[in-house]
Symmetry: C2
Subunit: 165 residues, 2 copies
């Protein structure tokens, strides 16, 4: 890792942002950019999170995913507690540069604090399946993964649950 810090360009024009070569990310009024993280091999969506400028710079420099934890309000080196570090195989940016896509390889194979491989382990019935399920409008989720790959209590101990109601 060289000593050069990562620098972002300022946003000048739509053509620069959409069809140029400058990395000129848009951080929102909280200083955050949305991040989508998929498994580089299976294509499965593992998690959706946020980065501030520091987390994005560290991810680019180190090749390991860093996020901003909104619930804990800290820079979050993913895997620092659980060991499930995300090695970035590819980092892409979208057309208007307000979203980052990480394609990662996860050491140990888990990305979800509940204990599952992916955070997305429940399906919502759609269209005809919605109609078939019931008639009062409320929806029963359908589980797509029921096997936890680790025990959250063993890994996180007494750390507060990050889910906010």
């Amino acid at each position: 890792m060289s000593g050069a810090p990562v620098k972002f360009r300022s946003r000048q024009s739509i053509s620069q942002v959409e069809e140029g070569n400058d990395l000129a990310p848009s951080f929102d009024d909280r200083g955050l950019i949305t991040v989508v993280t998929t498994d580089a091999y299976s294509g499965e969506l593992l998690m959706q999170g946020y980065m501030n400028a520091e987390a994005l710079g560290l991810t680019i420099k180190t090749g390991e995913a860093h996020y901003w934890s909104r619930s804990r309000q800290v820079l979050w080196h993913k895997g620092a507690t659980s060991g499930f570090v995300q090695n970035v195989r590819e980092l892409l940016v979208d057309d208007d540069q307000d979203c980052i896509w990480l394609r990662v390889d996860v050491e140990g194979g888990a990305s979800c604090h509940v204990g599952f491989r992916s955070c997305f382990y429940r399906r919502v019935p759609v269209g005809e399946d919605f109609d078939k399920q019931q008639d009062d409008g409320h929806i029963d989720l359908v589980w797509t993964d029921t096997e936890k790959v680790f025990d959250p209590e063993e890994v996180y101990g007494d750390a507060p649950n990050p889910t906010i109601l």
Copy 2:
């Protein structure tokens, strides 16, 4: 399509939200939930958007992706202008139910207003590749797709570009 409107449960407890069968989505202070949309076959990330409660309900009812357009501040039936309707093959929700994953089949194959198949057509060099590229910290994006599948001017005409600087 039956007449029953889609109803969401209120959020009562962490166990209900994370490990229950209730669909009890969390909408943020703008009334929006984050949406990640991937190609159901290739696994490629097509776009990242937002839904309000109405858009989520319509997506569930109709099986076609509806979003909330933040730049235009309107309910947005994806493909209504361009013809590139997204048929939802699977709709999943994450652990704390503040993110929706759509796995879609796109009629016509395009999801990006710039004209590309995916909104993510540029790569950021990471780790050693970052170090190799330059030494002043600024980053040159690397194009991963250069072939537009449609001409935005023909499809959208004089409609304002949704990108906000």
